[in-house]
């Protein structure tokens, strides 16, 4: 067995996914007997770091053989307890902190007048100065302190118990770079192992070993030093759950583990979100208290359903502060997410730092190994016991997945047998329980299975008899190199086919130059190996093929004009080995833009071109990239314009959201069957019926890219975006002939899938290609009552063929607690995941029913859930619109969705824009989706280094996230809006001249150019800070968001202002009006 860290930066190493038990070979008509030369040739994935010096030839198979240094007598294995037994003390709800008023001295609710803009209500000690005065007014808290301390923001930094610099506001992010954050370093040496623990070698990449129980530092850097009670020995069946000790131990052992394992953080991936190892980075108390440090006072009298007892106020002596804080942060976990917030009175609800999803209320040892929420998360982190309970809560239950995300660290296992449950085929995972050394119990179907002999050997510690310490059982996200049973045919090579529209219209936009240029630049970084194949097709009213056979002096163009019955002129030389024909491909790309520059052909035969592409690729499978610039007008699949621009704003009901023809859908299904995925790039200036054309990508697991008003010269910003997207598209990882199966514990079942794929059976998605930027959502339903279950598990297994021709399986497993009270369900609600799932459901609804139906459904989701909370959870009724703290952003996000391009009414929205937004809502991963729905607004002209992050020796300032309201803008400032795929920098008319000169490099406001898309590199502190911040934002996502500097008279100002979702528009409610509407509906 060979383990290695897998640097999954998009470029070099590729992971394939095998067809897992595709029992019906419908997709693979040519089922060849398996024999896999490639795997045999290169069994060793190109990972840079090897765990051990074991040769790659799978020593695992010969486990008891010479590679095993020590084989303890089998009769006397180390006393092994079931490491993953389900703990009993599952749902212990700590006493609520009803006395939260102690942290908010003026606990009286601010008067509703706080809504009157301009009037500053007394908002408690941490009230932020409104609007423009943020810089000038010295805040009692120098910077947003770490979230965990939101309950006592002003105390923590001032006490002597917190050594080290003030925590950066986003303490989560700081975990990624342990070396650079002093508190982490300070902590690591203080994490000795618990004496008496059975010794074993801690696997460097397998995360901190479970036995690691550091003694708490006397004065923890986080102020979370805890009284050190005797630790529970490791592998006991019953775990303590909410003790501060465990949590602290988790915290520091995480930190310690990080410091050992972290590679030099130079990976290009998102720095702020380390996924591969970002498991439970923070103790629950920190994560859940994502509360702005200066939230308005709470309501001291709000009762909690979970227990009326008042939480005793911790003594505030300096010496005792830390322990009490630790206890506080642990015990306050549930109550804080349930803390009642009166939305009508509290204005400042946005967390000051990136949103943290709630931590499932699991025992520490399970939570420690749980899947990262960035990869796999649930809308409800506490699963209701029955469907009736779920219906009562009125919250959607579902999963959001980002299964092929670029991970900075991913354990990869090569072994001859992959251990799976014999009845439900679940992969062994950290949440199974070992009954004894030889048997394990599946956590999905509860069948007892045997542990195979090979599994007894642990290649990480090179010891025998510890199956529960194997990487498969220590990592919730793991990748297997699949043996030959997982293939129906030899793994396919990487095959790329480019289909370009070269009609007159397309040549006018000039996109062909950009595509050819980008391809020339990135040809060598196309993922693949020596078998990689490439081909080109161009089309207008005829189809042009290119013979690139090795040996030709120049590419040969073959024109097929019979578009009714398309055929391949020379079937074997159109798709050629890339390495052999590299020069011909280069020649073709250099000459292609000129070949059609004078064309007068205006027709477009997209349908026949796609049929030709399908025919060309069907023997192998692969990826088709289609570039299209107008409505297809000829041959099969021809479309007619369905949009009436005059009706856009006034139409009562939006028509034509569903496809006009099923040609593209049927072709996509054929493609899916032959493992061909079609990615569609639309570069248009007029309507092109994306609703119909998009089907070709949607059901073949492709992606749609859309560049409205594209023109090389007239729209340089769009061109730049196209270039950046294309670069990412060409160089990112890719998995071929993939399938993804999602299994869940008996009793749960999958209701609906959302995303781009074809659903092949109730739990199996067929993905001809899988790319790292694709997200999926799954609606779940509870079919049988989950009585007698403490936890349920979900497992997503993605089987794919990497571009190197390896069959691989990436397995993510998530474990969640089962609860039987409504208050626990509400406490575990993840508002972002709920919003993401609702958005997908609303897209479906607007296609099957109508847009207004979908809008009503979203509004009703807010009304129903809050009214259910009010009637079922709250014991004492109060006036106002009450929401649990964890759902406080729910109405805001739904309002933002209603104003999103996909669902808005009233304003003139082009049909294609709307359909494209819908495509994105369904297929984007949650993190990018949320920025699209609710962009982040920052003030940039007063950036300071206070509370800055330190990443790779760069100081990243961390300004506060502002509400999306014009009220927050001021003429004297400069504001940055991060909307995911685009970043706007709005510069006020009388902006601070220092900002103009030092950052933008212009002497005054009028001198600011109209279409500035780059920040000049000036040698000033302000410029460095600003560029560091923008660069940091960009690093967090794999694509490259463009920056637009916006002046008052810029065209893009409308786009900027449309994102101000809290304000009233002519056709949509303001946030406050929306809340009033919700309240009115609830009190009906």
């Amino acid at each position: 067995m060979t383990l290695y860290k897998h640097p999954s930066n998009p470029g070099p190493s590729q992971n394939p996914f095998p067809m897992q038990q595709v029992s019906q070979g419908y997709s693979m008509p040519g089922q060849l007997g398996y024999h896999n030369p490639v795997l045999a040739k290169a069994p060793m994935p190109p990972g840079p770091v090897l765990y051990n010096a074991v040769p790659p030839a799978s020593p695992y198979q010969s486990a008891p053989g010479p590679h095993m240094p020590v084989r303890p007598p089998v009769g006397a294995p180390p006393p092994m307890q079931p490491g993953q037994t389900i703990p009993a003390s599952q749902n212990s709800v700590p006493p609520p902190t009803a006395s939260t008023n102690s942290y908010y001295p003026d606990a009286q609710n601010p008067s509703p007048s706080s809504w009157n803009y301009g009037v500053r209500p007394p908002m408690g000690m941490g009230t932020p100065p409104p609007g423009n005065h943020v810089t000038s007014s010295p805040s009692p808290v120098p910077n947003p302190p770490s979230q965990g301390f939101s309950a006592a923001p002003t105390l923590t930094p001032n006490t002597a118990t917190t050594p080290g610099p003030p925590l950066p506001p986003s303490s989560y992010n700081s975990w990624t770079q342990p070396g650079s954050v002093p508190p982490m370093n300070a902590m690591s040496p203080q994490t000795p192992y618990q004496p008496g623990r059975p010794p074993y070698g801690p696997p460097p990449t397998a995360g901190p070993p479970p036995g690691m129980r550091p003694t708490p530092p006397p004065t923890g850097p986080h102020g979370t030093a805890t009284p050190p009670p005797p630790m529970a020995p490791q592998n006991e069946g019953v775990r303590q759950t909410h003790t501060p000790t465990n949590s602290q131990a988790l915290n520091s052992s995480e930190a310690g583990g990080r410091i050992i394992t972290d590679p030099p953080s130079s990976q290009p991936g998102p720095v702020g979100r380390p996924i591969g190892h970002g498991y439970p980075s923070l103790p629950p108390g920190y994560q859940n208290m994502a509360q702005p440090p200066n939230v308005p006072p709470m309501h001291p009298t709000q009762p909690y359903s979970s227990g009326p007892a008042a939480y005793p106020q911790p003594p505030m002596g300096a010496a005792q502060l830390s322990p009490s804080m630790a206890a506080m942060s642990m015990q306050a976990q549930t109550p804080d997410s349930l803390r009642v917030v009166n939305l009508l009175q509290e204005r400042n609800l946005l967390p000051p730092t990136p949103y943290q999803p709630p931590t499932p209320c699991l025992p520490q040892d399970l939570q420690r190994v749980n899947c990262s929420p960035d990869v796999f998360c649930s809308t409800l982190t506490s699963i209701p016991q029955t469907q009736a309970l779920l219906n009562k809560a009125k919250l959607p239950l579902g999963l959001l997945l980002h299964p092929f995300k670029d991970l900075s660290q991913l354990p990869v296992v090569t072994s001859s047998t992959i251990v799976r449950c014999r009845s439900c085929r679940t992969y062994i995972n950290p949440f199974v329980s070992f009954l004894d050394q030889r048997r394990w119990k599946c956590n999905l179907c509860y069948r007892v299975n045997d542990v195979p002999e090979e599994f007894m050997y642990n290649p990480v510690s090179r010891s025998y008899g510890e199956p529960h310490k194997r990487p498969e059982v220590q990592n919730a996200t793991i990748e297997f190199i699949a043996p030959s049973e997982y293939m129906l045919r030899p793994p396919q090579p990487a095959v790329y086919l480019f289909v370009l529209d070269v009609s007159h219209n397309a040549m006018q936009t000039g996109y062909v130059d950009v595509v050819c240029q980008s391809l020339l630049e990135n040809l060598n970084s196309l993922p693949g190996d020596t078998r990689t194949k490439i081909g080109f097709i161009t089309f207008d009213s005829t189809i042009h093929f290119y013979n690139l056979q090795e040996g030709l002096s120049q590419p040969q163009m073959l024109i097929v004009s019979d578009i009714e019955d398309i055929f391949l002129p020379t079937p074997d030389s159109l798709l050629v080995n890339f390495n052999e024909s590299k020069e011909l491909v280069g020649d073709l790309l250099k000459s292609l833009p000129q070949m059609f520059s004078k064309t007068m052909e205006t027709q477009s035969a997209l349908g026949p071109a796609l049929q030709a592409a399908f025919k060309l690729l069907s023997p192998t499978g692969g990826r088709v990239s289609v570039f299209q610039s107008q409505l297809p007008t000829m041959g099969v699949g021809a479309l007619k314009s369905r949009e009436d621009p005059n009706q856009r704003a006034s139409a009562k009901e939006i028509q034509h959201l569903s496809p006009a023809t099923d040609f593209y859908k049927k072709l996509a299904l054929d493609c899916s069957g032959q493992q061909v995925a079609v990615d569609l790039f639309m570069l248009t200036s007029q309507y092109c019926d994306l609703a119909s054309l998009g089907c070709i990508s949607r059901y073949s697991a492709g992606t749609v890219y859309y560049y409205p008003s594209y023109h090389n010269e007239h729209n340089p910003a769009q061109t730049e975006r196209f270039q950046k997207d294309l670069k990412r598209y060409l160089t990112r990882k890719i998995g071929f002939e993939a399938v993804m199966r999602i299994r869940c514990t008996k009793g749960l079942s999958i209701h609906t899938f959302h995303g781009n794929f074809f659903v092949r059976s109730t739990d199996l998605l067929s993905l001809p290609n899988v790319n790292p930027d694709a997200g999926f959502a799954v609606q779940m339903s509870i079919e049988e009552n989950l009585v007698d279950m403490q936890v349920v598990s979900f497992q997503a297994a993605l089987l794919y063929t990497s571009s190197k021709g390896e069959r691989r399986i990436r397995v993510h497993t998530m474990c969640l607690p089962v609860v039987n009270s409504l208050s626990d369900i509400f406490a575990g609600a993840d508002v972002q995941a709920i919003t993401g799932l609702l958005a997908s459901m609303a897209v479906d609804r607007s296609v099957t029913a109508s847009l207004s139906d979908a809008r009503d459904a979203m509004t009703n989701a807010v009304i129903d859930s809050l009214s259910s909370y009010r009637t079922s959870v709250l014991t004492i009724q109060q006036p106002g619109l009450l929401s649990p703290n964890c759902l406080r952003l729910f109405p805001l996000y739904i309002l933002a969705l209603l104003k999103q391009r996909a669902f808005r009414t009233g304003t003139s929205t082009r049909l294609d824009d709307r359909v494209f937004a819908m495509c994105q809502l369904k297929s984007q991963p949650l993190a990018y989706l949320m920025l699209m729905i609710h962009p982040a607004l920052y003030r940039l002209d007063d950036l300071t280094d206070e509370g800055a992050l330190n990443v790779n020796d760069r100081t990243i300032p961390q300004p506060r996230v502002l509400q999306l309201s014009v009220e927050k803008l001021s003429r004297e400032g400069a504001f940055l809006m991060d909307a995911g795929s685009v970043i706007y920098l709005w510069v006020g008319k009388s902006c601070n001249p220092q900002f103009l000169t030092q950052v933008l490099g212009v002497p005054n406001y009028p001198a600011l150019p109209q279409n500035l898309t780059q920040l000049p590199e000036l040698d000033t502190a302000e410029s460095t800070r600003t560029r560091a911040f923008v660069g940091w934002l960009r690093e967090q996502r794999p694509f490259y968001p463009l920056l637009h500097v916006i002046k008052d008279e810029s065209q893009l100002k409308a786009n900027f202002m449309q994102n101000m979702v809290e304000d009233r528009t002519e056709s949509a409610l303001s946030y406050y009006e929306f809340l009033l509407h919700v309240q009115q509906q609830i009190s009906k």
């Binding site: 006009a660 099923d662 659903v759 092949r760 059976s761």
Partner: protein, 144 residues
């Protein structure tokens, strides 16, 4: 006792309903196979779609026969199903071929459950009407 047109209609309907019962059973089995992952949705839709229109046409055919035979009660009993068939076919997804079922949406739990329920309801209806037609045939034969 005479062999009237009405009696002929009932006999014909009796035979055709027996055929429809087989259609309904086939439908139920097909959706059960889908639910238990035995079949690929594309294949299953390809086998189911060609059967939809024949079923509807057979039903419509003996409804017309009853209309001609002026069997108003029998016609009235069949009208709801006829109307449902018309509605169902009008609201089918965009498809170029005949049929109702779209392989991309059929795996949705709601649609799957609906189709299964539809199959059972139709089976019950056809069984009941089978015995009703038997009774009706004998009644017409005896009374005339």
């Amino acid at each position: 006792m005479a062999f009237t047109f009405a009696a002929f209609c009932y006999m014909l309907a009796l035979l055709l309903t027996a055929a429809l019962i087989f259609f309904a059973i086939w439908h139920i089995i097909a959706f059960d196979e889908l639910k238990t992952d035995y079949k690929n949705p594309i294949d299953q839709c390809n086998t189911l779609n060609p059967l939809v229109l024949p079923e509807y046409l057979i039903h419509m055919f003996f409804c017309v026969m009853f209309l001609c035979a002026a069997e108003w009660l029998t016609l009235g009993l069949n009208m709801p199903l006829l109307a449902y068939h018309v509605w169902r076919y009008m609201s089918r997804p965009v498809m170029s071929g005949p049929g109702l079922y779209d392989p991309t949406t059929i795996m949705n739990a709601d649609i799957l459950a609906f189709c299964q329920k539809e199959g059972w309801c139709k089976l019950a209806f056809y069984l009941l009407s089978f015995f009703y037609y038997l009774y009706g045939m004998i009644y017409v034969l005896v009374s005339s």
